[in-house]
Symmetry: C2
Subunit: 652 residues, 2 copies
């Protein structure tokens, strides 16, 4: 029987529990306070009430441009019965000028000057009451008046008010001094990474420090970043202990997993008191925290998305609480602020989604709207993938009880980008690098094109469900050698779809540079000495492969790697380029981009297929113009393997 | 007949028109572009697509901690039928370590090491497929892949992604260089203002520069602030011309009205081409703009609220557009961003409100919720009032067609503060400085108390309408000399209100320091040689005055200033302190605070009156504790003129 060591901290927490532990340990005591000029305190939280040091205005002032008079002298004045005053009875005052020996001001609009017998007189066409158009001393703010309370934030308006009220300094909660300590033998710093030197395999750039620093800047906080520490427990221990003494919060990046180089848990247990070890969320599970000499030390896992999630969900609320904003650290709202979301979108899942049991799942989500129905879909669940976080429209949090979510299930997306769904086209269909170029063209015209590479059949199926504005296909009907027609007939279900041939493209076998395995045709692919990389079921390229294999009488089971799947031409070609596979079937453009060998097999028509009312979409014109543009056509021509039609080739 | 000079620009515009003019003139051309490191570009807008400079990862890497193996060698492994590999067949890999001479990685969780006959072997309990737990080259990002488009914002995630993808620099739209030029003979700079020197009447601090600088900082933009220029057209002209040559945008503060010292319009017409002269909004009407040498020059009116409104509604969207974010400058959304609002509240007006005809009106609004009904009310409409902007919960914009808005009309408030209405108590009733102190006590406990001084009767009336959580009254029933009881009976309409005497306070005649007019009683007030400052109808103090005058047989028409109204004790006393009035009736605390003469007249009970279910409110306990606290009682005792009950004095 195994002996289980009793822990004096919760090993596995929910995010709420982990946050409660952090707040209870580190945010109950009073944050450090500082005194500073109001202007330097912008954005900080007052630690003490701010009280006026004078009256505003500090003298009786005119509130308008006009003439200071005694109200009594204007009694009865109307446009029909103006009253004229002698020069000794009035004096011009600009707005803000002291009103002396007068008790009111007539607005300039209600007066005219006339000269009678060489003497100038003021004609007044509206009477004023005592005090009218006059700002009394202290009318805005009185000496000793409470201007803002402890716990109020210093806003631009308060900065200005405090200045007017003669307040020289305010007492505010200091922001926690925070340091980020990247660790890992494999991590290289930004300058080395960008130096142009070849970085050997096994080394990656310190992207987490860059992300954390940028995120803190977005939050309006400062972050010190330490030099990168090697995976040496002694060196890391020493640095963490020193940092815990100098800073209000320490973030140790990586070393949180179970690998042989992951020392953070041991170090935390040795130097201080563990607060929690794992958080029931994905990604971010190995996030942990400890109390080292009274300072919170948080370990954020090394994968970029895990690091991001830890910063949003644990570091941000703790930093806010330690800045005197404890009230801001509860509920869903703080995540919105942490990720910079200003808007929430409720949208139905475009695909089924399995969320892991008993775990809060963070999704990076892309959104679209087709015919009034709002969709969203997760980009990837890989914690190591950086691209998806930059590409996502927002973040969705699937709570622990969420498990098998059916297509159409409504989820809540915290949008992190200004998304205008009505200007956004959703394309689903066959992957193509030339089509991908259109994203940028559409964006430049103020519209958006979102692409989901789901294969030719996937695109037609999406179109039939109303899940896309347009699709694209290059599907060979092996019964008659035609492309697309029979498939469109099958999927459209009587709806009137429009088609547009945008180019022909060359398909062929892609092999490694120099073709070391001497691959010439499909017999070589099936020879057993070649590892093939296939495309997903429903991809036009896979349909072509299957047709070719059938023609040659080759069983798919005889092709090593037939079950290995890449989703795009570039991904498949990249497997060949990096030696993971020996060959794939794909377009010439992908082979050319990676300087691989290309053995031509077929020339295929690639057609866009549109929803019936496609042209009513605000972005449709922009897309169609881009396809016609010389710039796009030239860019496509440069890619190789494409044959563009001469003019617009439109067929319904 | 007057000769009307034809203008070549629209003199009076709506805000939408003014903004359209600015955007059409200054935001159509391409903003300046700059190249910089991705990390320095945080928050900026890309002027060109950003494309990956390498594959991420750049080598085949393990995605987990485990053992690199050949998938084939694990075929058939299950927990029941583990497979053992010899040391030459596996090698340990941490996450991120290159996978060489292997095609997959078995997770450490699915393995165990055993030593058989002195030879270590790896027992594998789950088979893997080719490529499993391996990150292929370019799996995250491929060389040449589009990472972000022109017009995309550089987010923290993108900074990190660009770094990983080896992108050394990005091309972004530069933020417009902007200068703020304060003008006015009466304006003194911050250092002089806070120097402790006595500032003579007629001089005010340059609060607009402080506000503008803080607001720009909140926007994440930089703002240069020039020295303060005198009201000299030559000096201002020269400075504006120079600034227009050096900056992308110039803001001239003040000089926009019709006073003798308002030169901006003349200067703008002389130096350049006027864009518009007035904007149909209040405040902010005299905001104007011109094109001077191709540079937008905007004149923001001098009153603080007018200046703020001009910065929000004209400067902010133009700056965004000139930063490459033209799409962000339309619709209501940009005002939210300009004022930092993250939330909208729809609430009913607590009072009738007359909005001026044909003008967009900006309101500074305070909010509360009583028994599930959300209320809001404008704090003041004075453009000169600074306090209200700092105090407001948010901003409401009443569009041009809004005129007479009835009590209860729903308006939309853009909240600029984190407001939790359910934690907020709304007090309406008799003004009292000791009660005002409670605001800070309640705030410190994480709750809020909002006070509207509407007089004793106003408070009871509000309570009867359900427009307040509690009220306060000191209303003398002249028929029997009792306080409050008969009034509460009248207003409560059978509802069970609770009462609580919190103190007695001394009322008396407040006269100038040294009592120069030798005022002893109400006969002196009615003597004709004394200017009186009265309180509003319904105020308990006014009820007392009327009673006293009636007792003495004095007609109110015989009291000079009887119709002059201050809303609070301090405001009325301040009128006396600043010489606008000779006397008022008020509490001793107000006289003491301003070191004025005080002639005692009466000692009044001051009672809080609560809604029936008051104690169910989350903040009720905090308020009642504050009233019992030694700290508040001591502070009240120090104010003078108060007599606190010994223990809790509670009556229903």
């Amino acid at each position: 029987m195994a002996v289980v060591k009793a822990l004096d901290y919760p090993e596995h927490c929910s995010l709420e529990e982990a946050l409660e532990i952090l707040l209870a340990k580190f945010a109950l005591r009073e944050p450090r306070i500082m005194e500073m000029r109001p202007r330097d305190a912008l954005g900080l939280i007052l630690a003490a009430d701010a009280v006026s040091c004078g009256n505003v205005p500090h003298y009786t002032a005119s509130a308008v441009d006009g003439y200071a008079v005694t109200a009594y002298s204007t009694s009865g004045a109307t446009p029909a019965t103006p009253i004229a005053l002698a020069p000794s009875e009035y004096s011009w005052v600009n707005t803000g000028i002291p009103v002396i020996e007068a008790d009111s001001v007539v607005m300039v609009e209600d007066t005219s000057l006339e000269t009678v017998g060489g003497v100038e007189r003021l004609k007044i066409s509206r009477s004023v009451t005592q005090g009218e158009n006059v700002r009394a001393v202290g009318e805005d703010v009185m000496n000793g008046q409470l201007l803002a309370c402890r716990k109020d934030r210093v806003t631009p308006a308060l900065v200005s008010l405090l200045l007017c009220a003669g307040v020289k300094s305010v007492t505010v909660f200091a922001r926690p001094r925070t340091i980020f300590i990247p660790t890992g033998n494999e991590i290289v710093d930004e300058n080395t990474w960008l130096s142009g030197e070849k970085i050997p395999p096994g080394f990656v750039v310190d992207s987490n420090s860059a992300y954390a620093a940028a995120l803190f800047a977005d939050w309006g906080h400062e972050l010190d970043v330490s030099r990168i520490l090697p995976d040496d427990p002694e060196i890391i221990s020493e640095a963490v202990l020193k940092a815990a003494g100098q800073y209000d919060m320490v973030i140790v990046s990586a070393g949180s997993a179970k690998g042989q180089r992951d020392h953070s848990a041991d170090i935390f247990e040795r130097l201080g008191r563990m607060s929690f070890r794992y958080v029931r969320m994905k990604p971010g599970r190995p996030a942990m925290a400890a109390d080292i000499g009274g300072t919170p030390v948080i370990c954020s896992p090394g994968f970029p998305m895990s690091c991001a999630v830890t910063l949003w969900s644990l570091v941000y609320p703790l930093i806010r609480a330690m800045s005197g904003e404890r009230d801001e650290c509860r509920g869903a709202g703080y995540i919105s602020r942490a990720i910079g979301s200003r808007k929430v979108l409720k949208a139905g899942l475009l695909t089924n989604h399995s969320s892991p049991a008993g775990v809060l799942e963070w999704l990076r989500v892309k959104c679209a709207e087709v015919e009034g129905r709002k969709f969203c879909w997760p980009l990837t669940s890989g914690a190591s993938v950086l691209w998806a976080l930059a590409e996502a429209d927002g973040i969705a949090m699937l709570p622990e009880p969420a498990l098998e979510l059916q297509r159409g299930s409504e989820i809540t997306v915290l949008l992190t980008k200004p998304v205008n769904l009505s200007n956004r086209l959703l394309f689903q269909g066959s992957d193509d690098p030339a089509v991908n170029l259109l994203v940028s063209f559409v964006k430049r015209a103020g519209m958006e094109l979102v692409i989901r590479a789901v294969g030719s059949m996937g695109g037609l199926a999406a179109l039939s469900r109303g899940d896309a504005h347009f699709a694209a296909a290059h599907l060979l009907d092996t019964s008659d050698g035609t492309y697309n027609t029979s498939y469109i007939k099958q999927f459209s279900g009587g709806k009137r779809w429009r088609r547009r041939l945008i180019f022909h493209r060359e398909q062929g076998i892609i092999a490694a540079r120099g073709n070391p395995k001497n691959i010439r045709d499909f017999e070589d692919i099936a020879s057993g000495r070649v590892m093939f990389e296939n495309r997903q079921p429903g991809a036009g390229t896979r349909v072509l492969l299957d047709y070719m294999l059938r023609e040659k009488g080759i069983e798919s089971s005889g092709v090593p790697g037939y079950d290995r799947i890449s989703i795009t031409h570039m991904e498949a070609a990249n497997k060949v380029a990096s030696g993971v596979a020996d060959a794939t079937l794909g377009i010439k453009a992908a082979a050319d981009a990676l300087e691989l060998e290309f053995i031509p097999i077929a020339k295929e028509p690639y057609e866009l297929v549109f929803m019936e009312r496609f042209e009513e979409h605000p972005a449709a014109g922009v897309l169609l113009e881009a396809i016609e543009s010389d710039e796009w056509r030239a860019a496509v021509a440069r890619m190789g393997g494409y044959e563009l039609p001469q003019g617009g080739s439109d067929a319904s």
